[in-house]
Amino acid sequence: MIELGFFYLFAVIALGAALGVILLKNPVAAAMLLVVTLCALAAEYVLLGAEFSAAIQVLVYAGAIVILFTFVIMLLNLGQEEVGQLMGVSKWALLFSLLTGAAIILIQRLSVGRLPEAALSTLGSDNVYEVGMALFTRYLWPFELASLLILLAVIASIVIAKKPTLPARDA
């Protein structure tokens, strides 16, 4: 039960911070709240028994990807005044309520007797080891392909970011 309580706590933190990410005008604040969301989700992973996922979440997601965001914000030196306002919000309220209702009903209907019972016993205690073995045996090719993907991303981002583009046409 304690775990469920913590689950709710972190869920609320994650959702609140996520709302902040999309509503705050200051991009650095948004980035920091994104870190909060990510860390709260990492806590949820720990509660779900996925230690390694939590570690990679904090290490790579919060520690590296958001750093990149922060750097770019500071690089472009985007102050508050450069951030555009929100687009029309009224239809979002409608959409949001509809979607929430639909999703909750759907999840409820789905979960009645359809989801498999949680098979906790088969998950061992040494999470890192198990993930490693799965990754390096069954997911061998995706793993190697992932490295290729990273390579391509690095090359592409350097090409895009380094090369000075044409002067503005109509801005």
Binding site: P27, V72, W92, I150
Partner: protein, 103 residues
């Protein structure tokens, strides 16, 4: 580690996160915030993977989650590179300047 968190909770949390992310993509005019909202959506998928992994009882979901992190890293890198390029070209990063698809 012993108590069970019902998967419905994770599903609803993931769904809400996804929606917040999607809303962020749609209502923000700042490209960087749009990218961050995409990260939120990816995270909701991650949460689903991890929850499903626990439900099914093997670590495949967690492996997929680490691949999603890799993809998110690549997406962020290229997306931000494009933000820089767009900034150089237009002098700002508001999305309403990107209207090449106008019919």
């Amino acid at each position: 580690m012993s108590s069970i968190i019902p998967i419905e909770h994770s599903l609803i949390l993931a769904f809400l996160l996804f929606f917040i992310g999607a809303a962020g993509v749609l209502i923000r005019r700042n490209l960087i915030t749009v990218l961050m909202s995409i990260e939120l959506m990816l995270n909701s998928a991650n949460l689903l993977f991890v929850a499903a992994s626990r439900q099914v009882g093997n670590v495949d979901g967690q492996v997929m989650m680490s691949f999603v992190v890799v993809i998110a890293a690549c997406e962020a890198a290229i997306g931000l590179a494009m933000v820089i390029a767009i900034f150089r070209r237009y002098g700002n990063i508001k999305t309403e300047f990107l209207r090449a698809l106008r019919g």
